[in-house]
Each structure stands twice: as C-alpha cells, then as structure tokens.
C-alpha cells in the first residue's frame, strides 16, 4: 500500500516530553545524592564540588563547567516545560471538569495528576530561580558558600519547597514514563505496575529525607560558623587557586 505523508510532529513532541523528563529525572536523582555528601563531611562535599569543577581532570578548578551544565539543564527544563504545558487545563471549564472528576473518582493515579500539575507549576518559578543562580554564580558552591546562600541569603524556604516539588514530580513522572511506553512491563502489568508504584513512593520518601537532612546540615553549618559572603572552606589536604 502506498505510504501517505504523515505529520510527525505529535510523535516527536511526545518523545521530546518523555526524553527531557527522563534526563531531568535521572539528573535530579544524581544531584540530590551528590548534594547529600555534606552529610558525610564538609571535606567530602568540597571534594564532590571540585570534582564537578574539573579539578581531578585538569588539576585546577573551573567553575565555568558548572555554569555550562546548569545552562544545559535549564534549556532541557524549559523545553520540558514547553511541551508538558499542553497537559495543563487551558480554561476554567477544563479545570472545573477535571476537579469534579478527581473529587468524585477516588483513584490514586488520577490524583497524582494534581501533584504533577502543581509541582510542575511551582517549579516553573522556583526551579528557574535556582537554575539561574547556579548559572550566574557557579563559584559560590561549597560547604560554607552554599550554607551562606541557604541561610544568610534566605534560600532555605525556597529550596525546601523546590525539594518537595522536584522529588515528587520526578518520581511520579518516571513512574508514568515506564507505564506509558511499556518499559519492563512483563507478562502481568498489574504486578509490574505495583512494583513501579512501590519504587516511586520509596524513592520519593528517601529523597525527601536525604534532601531535608542535607538542607538541615547547611543550616547547622551557617549557625555554627560566622559566615561572610566570601568565607570559603579550606581543605586540609588540597590547596589550590581558583580560576
């Protein structure tokens, strides 16, 4: 049969939403874990920081690398938001219909939609603030510099809200992604779905705990040290100049 000319855009947009979501989801899993190195020690967090600044590859620190990656994530974040915004209700009528549906239909996966919409919407604003800060001030990352930002520059409430939003959004999103494309679906989708859902909830709980503890540690550091904007952590073993 003759092949017709088809509009490939809907398929591409759907793939784009899934792919950008997957990248951001995996990124955030790593990000919060690396961030939690502060729970081990200041030295550990410092080493993770200079690792991402390329110290172990070039022998010197280049915070510009952080800027570059933050910028790349920012672009992916914007693309994801642009394609995912299609799932938002786009008028009051749709909002009301969905609200009635969710209130009357007691169904967990449908209720999760509200979480996705709310957390996504919140991140449009506070996610942007965080990403821009990282792009603009990549040199201000470290046990003391980050603690200064969290407490003295009043970022703690914003970071906590961002943590709740990003963790739930990421893991609900990854759960949906698996079901949407039939990833590791197995013979019985009920079993695989139950497992994915358990993993989703376990990871949400785990990451919120790890993230909150890290945040608490930065707050502790800020209150137990007399921090100024230019106070920097001095490693006992590594000595270097910053570029």
């Amino acid at each position: 049969m003759k092949s017709k000319k088809i509009d490939k855009m809907p398929a591409r947009l759907d793939l784009l939403q899934s792919a950008t979501g997957l990248i951001l989801g995996v990124f955030i899993m790593g990000h919060i874990l690396f961030e939690s190195s502060i729970l081990i020690s200041n030295e550990m967090m410092y080493r993770v920081t200079i690792m991402f600044e390329g110290y172990y590859f070039f022998g010197e620190r280049y915070p510009g690398i952080i800027s570059f990656f933050a910028g790349a994530i920012f672009v992916i974040f914007i693309v994801h938001a642009a394609v995912a915004l299609k799932k938002f209700p786009n008028n009051y009528k749709q909002h009301k219909l969905m609200k009635n549906h969710i209130t009357s239909f007691k169904h967990e996966d449908t209720h999760l939609w509200i979480v996705q919409i709310l957390s996504g919407f919140i991140m449009l604003f506070i996610g942007s603030v965080h990403l821009y800060t990282m792009m603009a001030e990549p040199q201000n990352i470290g046990p003391f510099a980050s603690a200064f930002r969290v407490v003295n520059q009043n970022m703690a409430p914003l970071y906590f809200l961002l943590l709740l939003s990003v963790v739930s959004h990421a893991f609900i999103g990854l759960y949906r992604l698996a079901l949407k494309w039939g990833f590791m679906e197995g013979k019985n989708t009920k079993t695989s779905r139950r497992r994915f859902k358990f993993l989703m909830k376990a990871f949400i709980a785990l990451y919120i705990i790890i993230g909150s503890l890290s945040l608490a540690k930065y707050i502790y550091i800020a209150y137990t040290n007399d921090l100024q904007a230019d106070t920097r952590y001095q490693s006992t073993t590594i000595n270097m100049k910053v570029h």
């Binding site: 049969m1 947009l13 969710i102 009357s104 996966d109 449908t110 939609w113 494309w181 989708t189």
Partner: protein
C-alpha cells in the same frame, strides 16, 4: 436453630434528571431498600422501580456483565451495576449516570450513539481492498497465540466505563479514549487488516489519539472486562513513534 442475620437497610441515592422535561432539574433522590443475600445493584434498581418509583430510568439487558448496558457511576466510580454486589459497599450508595454520554434520563445513557460515532470514525473493521466481497475465499491462517491475543482484546463490550474513568477525555472530549485505542490495537495486530502503518498513524497519531493519553490509567482500573488497556496503549504509542521515525 438458625441464626437470624439482620439485613442492612441500604440507602440508595440516585441522581434524577429528565433532560427532555424543560421544567425538571437534576436532584438526588434517596430510596431505602432492604439488603438480601447476593444482592447486586441491578436487583436493587429493579426493587426500586417495582416498589418505590416506576418512573426510574436505567439500562440493562443481560444482567450478567456481558452486554455492558448497565454501566454507571457507583460512589463516583464507573462500573457495571449488574456485577456490583451491595455487600461490598457501604450502606449509603450513590448512583449517577456516566458523564460524557448523551443522557436519556436518570441513569440511562446513550452509549450506543457515542460508540457508533467512534467506530465509524476509526473504521473498526477489517480493511482489505483485494479480498473485499470475496466470501468464497478462505481466510488467511494466523498463529493461535496471535488469535488469542486478538480475541482477548476483542472482549470489549463498549460499556463506556473506561471513557468515564479517563481524566484526559473529561478535559478534552475530542480524545479517542481507551475503548477506541484498544480497537485500533486489535486491528493493528490483525494480519488480515491491510491498512498501512501510516494510515493507522493518521487515525491516532496525534493528541486526540494515543499521544494525548496522560497515562492516569483510570481506564485500566475500572474496565469491567479487565482488558489489557495499559499495555495496548503503550504498544500503540511505540508503534506510532516507530512509524513517525520511518524514512
């Protein structure tokens, strides 16, 4: 000596409305029915019509979960009345007609009209230009596994539960819904249907089709026939993406 079990008195609240009566307006009406052993909502509704109000409108044909006529919202959840045991519910039960479908009155809805529209739009029949009208020719053989797979998803009774349980279609009524996507999966699997991948893409390769699905899985969880809707929609999503990547 027999133990006398005290039967519950069920309070059945039904959303009553006759769209054809210009003076009528929707309101909840509550009936009290004494519960009996093995009672289904289908029996409850007949009790109400027989003893309380013979003007109550609701649909049923087979009373055995085969025809799909008696789908309604039971405590907000789409399901078949004839397969719902009252014993599994609280004393207070709320019944409402499925949303989205044309309301005939009370719990009676015109699912048939909606489904006919859908079937005509998606052309849910075998397309084979070469063998059209040739009834003497034997059908092509297929593997028993494939036949089983097709038979499995062909069990859909078009009751409309998946449509009423779908969040996407509430917001965007032009969305095909699981019933339509399931049918497309059925014909896509069938080797006798000669429609090309591109022709299928034309039917469901957009946001009114498979790419509009938000994977809330209400359809999967309310389907009274327990059809594999989740995995069939995922299958179509992969197929449509594959088609879009050709050339």
């Amino acid at each position: 000596m027999s133990l006398e079990k005290k039967e519950r008195l069920l309070k059945i609240s039904i959303l009553r409305f006759d769209p054809n009566d210009p003076e009528d307006f929707p309101e909840m009406e509550t009936f009290e029915v004494e519960e009996a052993d093995g009672m289904t909502l289908y029996i409850v509704l007949n009790e109400i019509r027989e003893h309380h109000d013979n003007s109550l409108k609701f649909d049923f044909v087979c009373r055995a979960g085969i025809c799909g006529s008696c789908a309604m919202l039971v405590n907000g959840r789409p399901t078949l009345a004839c397969r719902t045991l009252t014993a599994k519910l609280d004393e207070h039960i709320t019944l409402a007609p499925l949303p989205l479908f044309e309301l005939i009155g009370d719990l009676s809805i015109h699912t048939g009209k909606w489904m006919r529209n859908l079937n005509e739009h998606l052309e849910t029949w075998i397309h084979d230009k070469e063998n059209e009208m040739n009834f003497d020719k034997l059908e092509e053989r297929m593997e028993p596994e494939l036949a089983d797979e097709i038979y499995e998803i062909d069990r859909c009774v078009e009751c409309g539960c998946c449509v009423a349980g779908c969040g996407t279609i509430q917001m965007r009524p032009s969305f095909t819904g699981a019933v339509g996507l399931n049918k497309i999966a059925r014909y896509h699997l069938d080797p006798r249907d000669k429609r090309s991948d591109e022709e299928y893409y034309e039917l469901i390769g957009d946001e009114d089709g498979v790419f509009g699905c938000m994977t809330l899985l209400g359809c999967q969880d309310v389907c009274p026939k327990d059809l594999p809707l989740q995995s069939k929609i995922a299958y179509l999503r992969r197929m449509m993406l594959k088609t879009s990547m050709k050339n």
